[in-house]
């Protein structure tokens, strides 16, 4: 995408293979899900849309984090906090207005009623500014301190919005607010339709509606498909933007800061400025991600609630990035997709498939039984089946345990990620030897004659 038209075709073919790799991986994942899903009789459309949703979200997340950690070496483990700022501000800007004192219930709050795209822009901007607030004191700290500060800041954010005092307040006769512990309903209308309209693709949306009605007769499906398409579009946008950013002199300085900040500084680069800019950009991208993440709870209007902003998702995103290999945008997307398909969606999907195949309801079993009941038969008659069953039913909780193991495994064995070391040169052009000088006349260099040119 960042390929200049002046670069020879041969080279662009090589570059283009990165998106091709991503596409190939996505196709493989979809194929596996479709096959397994069809065996179990899962509706292919909802199967694909919910898979796409998580692939898109985690790929976007890994891309944004890769800008901080992979490119610049900024150890941010407060991702969820910046996502939260983004979605909360968007909510306040774009929610339907509500007159102050109108809502009888304590926490009820409305918004400014501005169009959703403006709200999203405001959310991303707010997250970037929040990033600046963190960056100013924290960027001069060592990596491990920055990690602690960012996670603390994300917790401060979560605890603050949970606090009832700012659940609702009066601004110019409007009841605005963060909703406190009850959270906020994201009642900004059909966000999918709004976004299509904003992109001047209202016609496409209408077409989707017609197609969906013919196929399934349900308008909800339109939003599911539309949402998945929007996420894929944002994923492609993030990828293009970050590739372009990375393959430029700007990205080169970021990589240099990651490698040795002091040496980079001595080469005349104002490293503080670069770090602040890149931290803000990354936070803004995370803020926008927050809106995308919570705007659509699988087909309906979303809602947000402080408990969703615990650091867990931050660690998910880190695992996705580590799998793909920090420092590579292509790796980030692939890591995000693999993470979403295998580690995140995998256990739930497997559970559904097993449910369908065996005609049981494993999650009900999980509620009825416990670790004790599962272990008891082992003690009595070496019957491990109940434990296995319990394990399967607890897969959703266990996925974090598995992720922990994956982190440890990767750090021990493949610290550069599953894809290994990828040579992505940070430059706006292919760094091959310029045409005018072929390999033959190296002799010129040997006697230092180049200087005379």
């Amino acid at each position: 995408m960042s390929v200049s038209d002046r670069v020879p075709d041969r080279v662009s073919a090589v570059r283009d293979s990165d998106p091709a790799m991503i596409l190939l991986l996505l196709l493989a994942i979809y194929a596996v899900y479709l096959v397994l899903g069809s065996i179990a009789g899962v509706d292919p459309l909802s199967n694909l849309t919910s898979l796409t949703r998580w692939i898109g979200l985690f790929a976007i997340a890994a891309l944004a984090l890769n800008l901080h950690w992979g490119y610049t070496g900024l150890f941010n483990i407060g991702v969820i906090g910046f996502m939260g700022v983004g979605v909360y501000v968007t909510a306040i800007v774009s929610k339907e207005p509500m007159a102050a004192g109108g809502g009888a219930v304590g926490g009820a709050a409305g918004g400014l009623g501005l169009p959703l795209p403006i709200g999203m822009l405001a959310g991303a901007l707010a997250a970037a500014l929040f990033g600046l607030l963190v960056a100013l004191p924290a960027l001069r700290l060592r990596a491990d301190y920055l990690a602690i500060v960012t996670v603390a800041v994300s917790e401060i954010f979560r605890l603050s919005v949970r606090n009832g005092n700012i659940a609702s307040f009066n601004v110019g006769g409007l009841a605005l607010g963060f909703g406190g512990g009850d959270g906020l309903q994201l009642d900004w209308g059909s966000e999918v339709e709004l976004l299509f309209d904003a992109l001047l693709l209202g016609g496409v949306y209408d077409g989707l509606v017609r197609a969906a009605e013919q196929l399934t007769g349900s308008p909800v499906t339109v939003d599911r498909v539309g949402y998945a398409l929007i996420l894929l579009a944002f994923m492609a946008g993030y990828y293009a933007l970050l590739q372009r950013m990375g393959n430029s002199p700007f990205g080169r300085v970021l990589k240099a800061i990651r490698e040795d900040e002091e040496a980079t500084n001595s080469l005349g680069k104002d490293t503080d400025r670069f770090k602040i800019v890149v931290f803000m950009i990354g936070c803004g991208l995370m803020g926008l991600l927050g809106v995308l993440w919570y705007m659509n709870a699988g087909g309906g209007g979303g809602s947000i609630n402080p408990t969703q902003f615990r650091p867990t998702i931050t660690f998910y995103i880190w695992v996705a990035l580590i799998i793909g290999g920090a420092g590579s945008n292509t790796g980030s997307v692939m890591g995000g997709a693999l993470f979403a398909a295998v580690l995140y969606r995998g256990p739930r999907f497997l559970q559904t498939v097993i449910d369908e195949l065996t005609g049981t309801d494993l999650s009900r079993f999980a509620r009825q039984t416990g670790f004790g009941e599962a272990m008891a038969p082992i003690a009595g008659s070496f019957d491990v089946f109940p434990l296995l069953l319990y394990t399967v039913t607890k897969l959703q909780d266990l996925q974090l345990l598995i992720m922990g193991l994956v982190i440890i495994y990767l750090m021990h064995n493949r610290p550069q990620g599953l894809l290994g070391h990828r040579k992505e040169q940070a430059a706006a052009i292919e760094l091959s030897r310029p045409d005018r000088r072929s390999g033959g006349d190296r002799a010129v260099a040997a006697d230092g004659g180049v200087e005379d040119e």
Partner: protein
Amino acid sequence: MGVADGYRTRVGVLVENPLYGLLAFVGLYLVADLILKLGGIELELAGVKVLGGFEPLNSFLSKVISGLLRGLIIGLTGIGLSMTYSILGFANFAHGDFITVGAFIGTVTSYIVAGVIGAATYDIGTLALLKIQATQLGLAITGGWVAFAAIVLGLVVAGAGTVGVVLVVDRLAFKPIRDRSSVALLITSIGVALVVRYLANFIWGIEKFTTSSPLDVWEFSVTLSSGDVTVNAHDLTLLVLAVSLMLGVHVLLQTSKLGKAMRAMADNKDLARVTGIPTERVIRFTWVLGGSLTGVAGYTWVLWRGTFGWFDGWLFLLLVFAAVILGGIGSIYGAMAGGLVIGLARDLSTVFIPSALAKASAFALMIVVLVVKPSGLFAGRTTA
């Protein structure tokens, strides 16, 4: 990234100076506000409250006591975190979940002892999974000799069991990458944290358990004009235990051969090797010491609050980090002092702000310290 020491950045210079003035102002404001609140005086300026209010003395004292006790647990946990930082060289994000390990292992032990010896009506499986109402077990340190024994044994097993877990974790997760960067170790520790935390979830489920039976815990009250200030036997147990353990650590580090070797290694690893100090053994001892203190801290939390869940250790970790950074990461005396400051700050902040923000204020305090004095209050030394 290694910017904090020696190497100047413009951001630092920009931020520091006006900040000192602001901080001094905020500090003075809070003190004045507190004094006025204790006197029940409220100052208004043009109809807007600027200072003072009302804070009953007994409520204030209760907050001080609660803050101190919390601070002791934080400090106890922080010692281990600080030691692993200075001797192994990384911030251990799994440390919070070692608290969880101690809390669960210790409580299970107490349940089994109290349930089997005392009541003898529950089977071990039920007890071990903490599936019964603890009030039925009468688990109070003043609740008779069985309960007393159950709690003492719980404490011992909490310490010893956590040591076991920690040593296994070190062997499997950290030892193979001992020579790698602090960041690689840090990320690995996040992985360890997830494994430990969700293993606890897997075994004990997501429900919090509650233990102590309030009826059996002796209470001591002082009546003030504004109300009572109450301390119970478990508070005192925590106080005595934490203070004696901290003294014990002090004595150990100052007088025992291994303790001195730990300090030596924290000081200068290369020289320690050249001198013939067996570094792996010192590292193992560090885990033993840190793990046992953390496990005991987890159990004393259960005693003090009477409840615990699989997620609590992780939530607590940030407070511990705040304390350790405040005291100067690497210094165990800093961890103890930092624990008290953070504990007090967390509880006393409710005098000024809503209690929902108490924890946030403790984190904010940590960030302020990092900005103003990144090396911590006990600066200059990275000494165990």
